[in-house]
């Protein structure tokens, strides 16, 4: 193997194949992914996904590195028992009737990057918007996680909270008091909580056939659900 040009050609071919077929082409195809319109059982037009996440709060999630401990991905049954965990889907009943479905590409539509996560040092957050509906719970938890779960190893995000003097009866959204002072959520804390409340990735979804890349349909007539997956 003495010629540089032959060697480089070999590298280009061997690496170029996966680069093209695994990375570039899927990226290009995925760029045209849009919301899918479908008809539900009553004949109403619904869209999948139903809602988007709160973008400003996601910036705080990104800056604080929450994805280092929390995932946002429900695994399919062959990969894990995520679907069976109580409260990890839209169904918040004590005994849900169906397992939570696996996450799909369109669940993350509109986000600049899917923070699927790398570790679960804390629960999955894809559907925490269904699980926790009280802003104050989130604020108390972010301010001092161990006041809610003594075993928790989550860091305290009190740097997102502002200390101010208690005036009158005190602020209604104060998370803690410290003598004459109280802690209230700062703008980043509020944005983060709004984002967490918007995490509802278990919207009803039509059964799609293999290949999630479907042209966004403009009119209802052609927006048929594909064969059952």
């Amino acid at each position: 193997m003495n010629k540089l040009s032959t060697f480089v050609l070999g590298l280009v071919v061997t690496f170029g194949l996966p680069w093209l077929f695994l990375i570039v082409i899927p990226t290009l195809r995925s760029a045209s992914l849009g919301a899918v319109a479908y008809e539900d059982a009553d004949g109403n037009t619904k869209y999948f996904p139903e809602s988007n996440v709160f973008a400003n709060g996601q910036l705080v999630y990104k800056a604080e590195g929450c994805a280092n401990c929390h995932t946002q991905m429900i695994r399919a049954p062959f990969a894990g028992l995520d679907g069976w965990r109580a409260g990890w889907g839209a169904d918040q009943e004590d005994r849900p009737t169906e397992i939570t479905r696996a996450s799909r590409q369109r669940d993350y539509l509109g986000e600049p990057y899917a923070f699927l996560g790398s570790q679960r040092n804390g629960p999955d957050l894809s559907n925490v918007g269904y699980r926790i509906t009280d802003d104050n719970w989130h604020h108390s938890h972010l301010f001092d996680p161990r006041s809610i779960h003594p075993w928790s190893t989550m860091p305290s995000f009190r740097h997102l909270y502002e200390k101010q003097e208690i005036q009158g009866g005190g602020s209604s959204n104060a998370v803690a008091t410290d003598g004459d002072f109280e802690y209230v959520p700062g703008p980043k804390a509020k944005a983060l909580v709004q984002y967490l409340r918007s995490l509802k990735k278990d919207s009803a979804a039509p059964a799609l056939s293999s290949g999630d890349v479907v042209e966004p349909e403009a009119d209802e007539a052609s927006a048929e659900a594909g064969p059952d997956a």
């Binding site: 695994l22 990226t27 760029a31 800056a63 590195g65 991905m73 990057y113 928790s152 860091p155 999630d212």
Partner: protein, 488 residues
């Protein structure tokens, strides 16, 4: 045993010695710069790694309000980026340039420009690490530096890798050595991978999920197409060099190289198996990882046959000992990679500390130990003196070994305890205390391991600085070996 000096000086003609001296002199300034700053970054990242590991079980460690930026979500990415870019890639460049210069017998041209590239690289990494701690992290694994950092690093890297190619083009040696293919490969692959990942995640994203897939691909190909080639190329150089005998089989090496080249680009997306990434992409990654056991086995066989009969040198020669450790860790890391790519095994290891265990095996147990082997070989040749203390080398080796073994075992055990808890059907209605509480003890073990690694890295850093300042032993009685009496 004077194996190293025997291979180098006693039977070598005078012209070759002069040629080598010329090459070493031309490489001195840039290689010394890369290696010393890399080792400094290694120490810095060990400090960050220690803090991250403390924070993983005791979040209120250093819990002052003014130190809020040291929480796990910021300090963990700061640690891994400092390790990968500050230490890993820079050490790889320094070692590649010197070995390439020696193998091609070409002098390093215009070393000032190379130095400038190195300074640019360090500026980028420094700004990036500070930016992560100050809240500018992108939360894209191993690409957490803010968007404006990567063009700087890519430019610096291209400048540095152009030098490696220039050395190749200026070669006067007849044969092209195995290490040369691996190094040329690393120089070629890294810009392609780094540029693609950054462009397609930060700038021309095809969508949220596919970007996450590209990130998974980036992490895997960075390991397999930069760290592995640099590490293997280093071992393929050092073993024959110190032992004074050639690599066992050129043919096996050829197979090992091209299979690595062909398979690695397909891997990476399996870290998100079961998720929103199209299933064929994760499956292809798993399949490639399992096929890769073939080239790994081939390389292991080749190394084993090369060193057969000389195992006693592991006792005396620092270079051989670190290189053999690294080469064995490569085999282990690849087996673990294949296992973690199996859907069944991955149920326990996905989204757990086991991933950290694998990263440690790949980046530290394999790559960094190979780099240490190379640094112990290279520095005497560019600073004109021998390592001052065999005892310090021994401390470095043993504390690294204890620390790494403990770290890898504790991370995998923590990972399994998390995995078993999450996968236990009886925990379906429990809050998440299971994985947290059950991994706690193992995480404390990782902190003890980091303590050992901090000590080993401090000792190494001091030792390297002494050599860089040319304060080593000025002697002609051969290289510094492990203290007499150290067994195996």
């Amino acid at each position: 045993m004077n194996a190293e000096s025997t291979a180098e000086t006693n039977e070598v003609p005078l012209e070759l010695q002069a040629l080598r001296a010329g090459v070493d002199k031309s490489a001195r300034v840039p290689v010394l710069y890369f290696l010393t700053t890399a080792v400094a970054w290694l120490f810095v990242s060990a400090v960050l790694g220690f803090i991250a590991s403390m924070k993983s079980h005791t979040p209120e460690f250093l819990g002052l309000d003014c130190l809020y930026f040291l929480h796990y979500g910021r300090v963990q990415p700061a640690f891994i980026n400092a390790f990968v870019y500050g230490w890993g890639i820079q050490a790889g460049i320094g070692v590649m340039i010197w070995i390439m210069a020696r193998l091609t017998r070409a002098q390093v041209p215009s070393s000032k420009i190379l130095l400038f590239a190195g300074v640019l690289w360090n500026i980028g990494v420094t700004l990036g690490v500070f930016a992560i701690l100050w809240g500018g992290s992108t939360s894209v694994e191993w690409l957490e530096f803010p968007k404006w950092v990567w063009p700087l690093l890519l430019l610096a890297y291209v400048m540095m890798s152009v030098w490696v190619v220039l050395l190749f083009k200026a070669r006067t040696a007849d044969t092209v050595y195995i290490s040369v293919w691996y190094f040329l490969g690393a120089c070629f692959w890294f810009p392609w991978i780094y540029g693609t990942a950054n462009l397609l995640i930060h700038h021309f994203s095809g969508g949220a999920v596919i970007s996450a897939g590209v990130d998974g691909w980036f992490i895997s190909t960075l390991i397999l197409l930069f760290f592995v080639p640099v590490g293997l190329g280093t071992v393929y150089y050092l073993l024959p060099k110190v032992l004074g005998r050639p690599v066992h089989s050129y043919q096996l090496a050829l197979i090992g190289f091209w299979m690595l080249a062909a398979l690695s680009g397909w891997t990476g997306m399996q870290k998100y198996m079961g998720g929103p990434i199209p299933a064929w992409m994760t499956a292809v990654g798993s399949a490639a990882a399992i096929f890769m056991l073939i080239p790994v086995g081939v390389v292991a066989l080749n190394h084993h046959k090369t060193i057969k009969g000389f195992h006693h040198l592991v006792g005396a020669s620092p270079t051989i000992r670190f290189a053999v450790f690294g080469a064995m860790a490569y085999t282990l890391m690849s087996v673990v990679f294949a296992c973690m790519s199996l859907f069944s095994f991955s149920q326990l290891t996905q989204f757990t500390y086991a991933q950290g265990g694998f990263n440690t095996l790949a980046l530290y147990a394999f790559f960094s130990m190979c780099m240490f082997a190379a640094i112990y070989f290279i520095l005497p040749r560019i600073s004109g003196c021998e390592w001052p203390s065999g005892r310090m080398i021994s401390t470095h080796f043993w504390f690294s070994t204890y620390g790494l073994s403990a770290l890898v075992v504790c991370l995998f055990m923590a990972g399994f305890s998390q995995g078993f808890s999450v996968q236990n059907p009886e925990n379906w209605a429990n809050s998440f205390w299971g994985p947290v509480v059950k991994s706690g003890a193992w995480l404390k073990g990782t902190t003890v391991a980091w303590g050992f690694l901090l000590i080993s890295n401090l000792v190494f850093f001091v030792h390297v600085i002494l050599m860089a300042l040319r304060l080593g032993r000025k002697t002609t009685d051969g290289p510094t070996l492990f203290p007499a009496g150290e067994s195996h």
